[in-house]
Every structure is written in C-alpha cells, then in structure tokens.
C-alpha cells in the first residue's frame, strides 16, 4: 500500500511526479589522523549526555543503636473501673510514671450550700429550691460548662436561657464565698475569684446580641462601616488643624463689629439716602482709571467705602486727620497692600552698573546705606540713583562718540 494507492482510493490529487528517493544522510568524513572509535566520540558524533537521577533516597545515617520499645500495660487512675490498656513505651530502667493524661481529669470547684445557707442567702423569687438544686446537680455533672447545661436543662418542662443560668450560679457562688470569707479577710486569690464571679446578665445579653448583629451585617453595611471608620481616622488626624482653622475663621468673622444700626435704613429717607450713596460710589469707582486690582481685599474695601453713618450722622469713613503726622499716617492714591521695611523696598540697580553707581555715590560723599530711611530721604535717594544711572548712560555715549570723533580727526589729519 503506497501513498499513491491511498490517494487513488480517496481520489485525492496526486502529488508531484516521482516518489522521492530515500535521502542519503551524508555525515562528516573522518579525518585521517584519528581512530574510528575516537572520532565517534567527538564533534557531530559525540555521545549523548546522561543526566544521572538518583531515583532512590539515600539510606538515612543513624549513629545510634536502635532503641527498645515495650508493649506496656497501664491503668488510668482517673477511671474508676480499673481498665487495663496497653501502649508502646520506650524501655527504661526507671519505673513507669502515672499515665500522663490523668491530671486533666479536673472538676470545677463548685461550692454547695446547706439548707440554712440557702434560707439565709440564696432565696430567689424566680428560682425555687428544687430548681436551684437541679441546677447545682447539672453544674456538677457537666462541670459548670454552661453551654452544655443550658442545652440539657429542662425543669418541669421549662427551659432557661444560658445567661439566666449563669447569672443564678454566679450569684450563688458569690454569696457563699463572701459569707464564708468576709471581704476584709479574703486572701488575694479569693478576692480575685470574688471579682471574677461578678456577672452582669443584661450586659452579657446585650453584648451577645451585638455580636450576632455584627455577624449578620450585609457586605454593603460592612463596606459602609469601613469607609466611616477611615473617615473618622482622617478627621482625628487633621482635628488639630481644623480646630485652629475654625478659630481663625471665627475670629475673622467676629471682627466685623456692626458700625451702625440697620434701623436707619428701614425708613424711606434712610433707604433713599443709601441708594444715593451707592450711586455716588459707583460713579466714583468708574471715574478711577485703574480699579485697584492689587488684592481681592481692595474690591471689598471699595464697595464698603460707601459712607457709613452712625446714629449721630457723623461719617465714620477714615480720612486725613490733623494729627496724622505724629502717628505716621499718610494718604496716597495707589497703594500695594502689605507691611514692609522702607529701606528694603528701595529699587535695586542693574548688576552691571552697581559698582560704578557706588563709586559715584562715594565721590559725592553719600553712604551706600541711608542713615535715616524716611519717606523723604528714600524718595531723594531713589531720585539720586536714577540720575546717576542716567549720567552713566550719557557718559558712555559721550565717550563712545568722542572716541569715534577722535579717530575721524586723526584720519582726516592723516589724509590731509
């Protein structure tokens, strides 16, 4: 069955004409110098690498001799039937110790009461004597494990809540303890026990209820609580800053003392007066060439500059006063808001010119720094500086022109 037959059967198209000859594999020629065996190991013919995998584990090295183990019978003294069981134990000369799980057979310390003590201390409206005895029985049997007790508890067809049971038992134990060992004679251990027996039923019920609710939260609620918690943390972190900011804002707000009563504006004459004043300030503002844009505060102040009249009708607008000078007060059209040192606001000179300017100042006998930088002296000083700069400019031009002029002269003379 050749491929040609198969193709015929399936009526597939023929492949190209002649079936291929078996390809002859031409390997390397063995050079003359080396033996056949050696050549078969080199170059193209090298033997395949063998990776050694140790599929078996090493035998573990043990330096000791094997120990002896003995099938040992033992009894558990916690049991009361004397059952004998066996277990493997290492052979040793020492006699066997007690079974090591015996000590776990503990029982809870449960104080019981006599009739007299019951009558005196433990009477309760909700719990009859029989029920109380039944409870004590259960506690003894189930080792004061409340979950089991509460589950198995049934007295006269009535079941009780775990919290009620625990509450009753704690009350009993506590009352007995304090009766037998009055508070001031208690040892440290006893008073610790006394304190640990203080059981708050309502709080416990509430706590368990809360835990239940916590468990029953939907994922959305959980996510919401998480977000709120993060928010709280963030608020706490920035709390101090917020308090300060709030104080600042409150202070700023409280600064605005009412300069006048609004009463006067409620009358018709007052209103018309106000309208006139506002119209006047509008006109005044429009007339000013450059409205003050030096600071946002200026916008406010120009709006508020409508003359405010107090109860007496005298204008409270701040303006020049005769004694301004002794307080250093002066009035100017355009001011840039803020506080500064006068000598620090003197205009500076270009770096290239400073040296020469100072030189000229020195020649004129003026110190680089004013002794008393007042408004007058600063203005004059600035003027002087500007003049010196102008002078230097001029000098430069004159020198340049002068030099060129001289060169021209020399050329003319030279030519003549």
């Amino acid at each position: 069955m050749t491929s040609a037959d198969v193709r015929d059967v399936f009526e597939l198209p023929l492949t190209d004409a002649a079936p291929k000859k078996k390809q002859k594999h031409v390997g390397e020629r063995r050079p003359k110098g080396i033996s056949r065996e050696l050549f078969s190991l080199l170059g193209e013919n090298s033997a395949p690498l063998v990776i050694y995998q140790n599929k078996l584990k090493e035998r573990p090295k043990i330096n000791q001799k094997a120990k002896r183990w003995v099938w040992q019978p033992f009894t558990n003294n916690a049991r009361d039937d004397g059952l004998v069981l066996h277990h493997w134990v290492q052979k040793s000369e020492t006699p066997p110790e007690a079974y090591r799980f015996e000590k776990f057979n503990t029982h809870a310390a449960l104080e019981t009461y006599s009739d007299d003590e019951y009558e005196r201390l433990l009477r309760d409206d909700d719990w009859s004597r029989e029920e109380t005895d039944y409870l004590m029985e259960l506690c003894k049997e189930y080792d004061v494990r409340f979950f089991i007790i509460a589950d198995r508890y049934i007295f006269k067809g009535r079941k009780r809540r775990l919290e009620d049971i625990k509450d009753r038992l704690c009350k009993i134990q506590r009352a007995l303890l304090v009766d037998r060992h009055p508070l001031n004679t208690m040892t440290a251990a006893q008073s610790a026990l006394y304190n640990s027996l203080a059981y708050d039923k309502d709080q416990e019920i509430a706590r368990k209820e809360y835990l239940e609710r916590l468990m029953a939260r939907t994922p959305e609620e959980i996510a919401e609580e998480e977000a709120l918690f993060i928010e709280l943390k963030r608020i706490q972190a920035t709390q101090e800053k917020m308090i300060r900011d709030r104080e600042d804002i409150l202070r700023l707000l409280s600064e605005q003392k009412p300069t006048s009563n609004a009463q006067e504006y409620l009358t018709s004459s007052g209103l018309s007066g106000l309208v006139q004043d506002m119209a006047a300030t509008e006109k005044a503002r429009k007339r000013v060439e450059n409205p003050k844009f030096t600071s946002g505060v200026d916008m406010y102040s120009s709006r508020v500059s409508a003359p405010v009249r107090n109860m007496n009708g005298r204008s409270l607008r701040r303006g020049p006063m005769p004694d301004d000078a002794i307080y250093g007060v002066s009035w100017h059209e355009k001011l840039q808001t803020g506080a500064f040192v006068r000598s620090q606001r003197l205009p500076t000179i270009k770096a290239s010119l400073t040296q020469r300017v100072y030189g000229i100042l020195a020649e004129l006998g003026i110190p680089m720094r004013l002794v008393m930088p007042t408004e007058r002296t600063c203005t004059k000083f600035t003027q002087l500086q500007n003049d010196i700069v102008t002078l230097l400019e001029l000098k430069r031009q004159v020198d340049r022109l002068g030099a060129e002029h001289d060169i021209q002269e020399k050329l003319n003379h030279g030519g003549a």
């Binding site: 600064e255 307080y327 506080a339 040192v341 006068r342 003026i366 008393m372 003027q383």
Partner: protein, 218 residues
C-alpha cells in the same frame, strides 16, 4: 473675607534695630564661659523710648548655632536678647505683628558688633570700650486693617509727639538728622544734574542725540 482695610492709608513707624556691647571685666570673665570677651545685647526698640509692644507681638532673634537655644523668641518688651560671646556674626531678626493686623512678619539682618577700633591713617588700634551699632528703620503698613489703624493711632511715635525735632545724646534720630540727610542728598542730586547737563551739551556738540544709540556718521 470681611477684613476691612483702610484704603489709600499708609502708616509708617520708625524702629531701631541694633546691638551694643561691652567688654567683660576680669571678674565677669571668671563667671562666663571660656573665651567669651564681651557682653552684648541685640535689640529692637522704638525711638525716643516709644513702647512698641502695642503693634509688635513678638520678635524672634536667630543667633549663631553655637548658642544654646539659638532661636530666641521674645514676646514682651523689651524686645532684646542679652548674651556673652567672643565673635561677631549675623543675627536674623523677625518681627511679628498682632494677628489682627493680618500682616506677614518682616525680617532684618544685623551684624553683631563687639570690637571698637580707632583708625588713624594706616594704623588701626583696638579699643576696650562700649560700642553701639544701630540702624534706624521704618516699618510701613500699606492699607492697614481697621484694628491696626486704631492701635497705631492710639499710640503716637516716640515720646508721644512724633519723632524728636533735635537730636539728644543717646537718641540721635530726629527730624533734624533727617533734614541733614535730605540736604546732603539734595546737594548730590544737584551735582549730578550739573554733570548731566554738561554731558548733554557735549553730546550735542558731537552730533549725537541723547536718545540715539548709534552715532551719526560725519
């Protein structure tokens, strides 16, 4: 925000920033740290004994790092720091205004001066005496807040009547002194203007106009 500023109003107050220094006596040197040679005081004060605390809340003096607690904050007058030392260094002084002023603090630098010298010709001899290095400065409030305006107009400059007219020993800053300086400056301006005139004339002679930068070809 509601801060009312007095528009067009400018209040300028003089203060004195400086230091004085006195060499320590032998006895004082015993009690002072090793190598200290002088007792010095850096201060910011008003002129003519003016109490500047109504309008200055605190002054912070930043001393050289080698001083313990080199940042000294003085919140009550007198705004000064008394210390002992041996070296002259720059002290940065920051003056803070009351919060109602809503102003940023202003800064001065003062080179502490301890040593006095007598320079005669080429020789310089050290003197062992009290020195004082102070500078008159003016703090200018442009458009002060209403509260600041009230504070400043309730406390006059100097001794209550503005800057002193004539200088007194210990208080050399007065209107007289200012006038002297103004006069000197006026003279200087005059001289410079004379020179400017002469240069302008020369420039015209040479054929260039003062405004032109390029020369005119002859």
């Amino acid at each position: 925000m509601g801060i009312h500023r007095i528009s067009k109003c400018q209040i300028s107050r003089p203060i004195i920033v400086g230091n004085d220094a006195k060499p320590l006596t032998e006895e004082e040197k015993q009690n002072a740290p090793k190598d200290h040679t002088h007792h010095w005081r850096i201060f910011v004060e008003g002129v003519d004994g003016e109490d500047i605390s109504p309008w200055i809340r605190k002054v912070v003096f930043k001393l050289h790092d080698t001083y313990h607690n080199s940042t000294r904050i003085i919140e009550e007058p007198p705004f000064e720091v008394n210390e002992t030392g041996w070296g002259e260094f720059d002290i940065m002084i920051r003056v803070f205004f009351p919060p109602e002023a809503h102003e940023k603090p202003i800064t001065f630098f003062h080179r502490l001066k301890l040593h006095a010298y007598l320079t005669t010709g080429d020789t310089v001899t050290p003197l062992n005496e009290y020195v004082k290095s102070e500078q008159y400065e003016e703090v200018v409030f442009n458009e002060p807040t209403e509260i600041m305006y009230n504070i400043l107009t309730q406390h006059a400059i100097g001794d209550g009547h503005g800057l002193a007219v004539e200088p007194e020993p210990g208080h050399e800053f007065s209107l007289q002194r200012e006038q002297d300086e103004v006069d000197k400056l006026d003279i200087a301006v005059g001289k410079v203007n004379e020179m400017i005139q002469s240069y302008r004339k020369r420039l015209q002679e040479l054929g260039g106009t003062p405004e032109q930068g390029t020369p005119v070809a002859q």
